[in-house]
């Protein structure tokens, strides 16, 4: 089985991403959206948290949320893939279930 995990909180404010990474299985998909998108940026204090699991987990970031926050797509951590809402829907369909780390 493979699950989609969703994280909508800033990793600088809340512990949701950290817990998601600790408690999700190898091979899972993780979608960062809403304030969760800040975790996808290069050069931050939490970059390594994401970068170290790219490959083991598949990391996605919701483009509309990322753009809303004024961040540049060239600054996304390598290996993180940008999706839109339709892509979010596809991820929900493609995985067995969704675990929300609200």
């Amino acid at each position: 089985m493979s699950d989609l995990h969703t994280v909508n909180k800033s990793p600088f404010e809340k512990n949701s991403l950290e817990s998601c990474l600790r408690l999700s299985k190898s091979g899972s998909a993780i979608l960062l959206y809403e304030d969760g998108v800040y975790g996808a940026l290069k050069g931050t204090a939490v970059e390594n948290m994401i970068a170290s699991v790219v490959g083991d987990r598949k990391i996605y970031v919701l483009g509309p949320d990322y753009k809303a926050r004024g961040l540049d797509e060239t600054r996304i951590i390598d290996g993180v893939e940008v999706v839109d809402y339709a892509g979010f829907v596809d991820l929900v369909e493609a995985n067995d279930k969704v675990q929300a780390w609200v």
Partner: protein, 130 residues
């Protein structure tokens, strides 16, 4: 595929309701079925017709109502959560002796069993919250 959506926050304070709306719309446009949208916790506050958001901003309640009209969606507000937060339809007004109602068009008030049923009947439950 058959989806159900749970919305845990009210309109405007958190993005949860916006995200749920955008997701639901995208799913429907891709031809998926939405079995039920269940509004829980402060999510029940999406179901009031008394909001008047600024003209230059989106109208979240109206967005839900119009999406429900277009796709014949089942928008269910949890009764226990609604009682705590003051979302009232005709039946609730009569039962609890309230002198007004505020439920928005296409929303209905029902029990938590509707959420459990949605989780049983649907292929996926997607939760949007704080």
């Amino acid at each position: 595929m058959k989806f159900s959506i749970q919305v845990n926050e009210g309109p405007y304070q958190h993005q949860a309701s916006d995200s749920a709306y955008q997701f639901t719309k995208a799913a429907l446009e891709k031809g998926h079925e939405c079995f039920r949208i269940f509004f829980y916790h402060d999510g029940v506050l999406n179901g009031t017709r008394l909001t008047t958001p600024p003209q230059d901003d989106r109208n979240i309640v109206k967005n839900w109502t119009e999406l429900a009209e277009k796709y014949d969606l089942d928008l269910v507000v949890c009764v226990a959560a609604a009682q705590r937060r003051g979302i009232v339809d005709d039946g609730e007004a009569e039962r609890n002796g309230k002198d007004a109602t505020n439920i928005a068009p296409k929303f209905r008030i029902s029990g938590l069993g509707q959420l459990v049923e949605a989780a049983i009947q649907s292929d996926r439950l997607v939760v949007f919250g704080d």
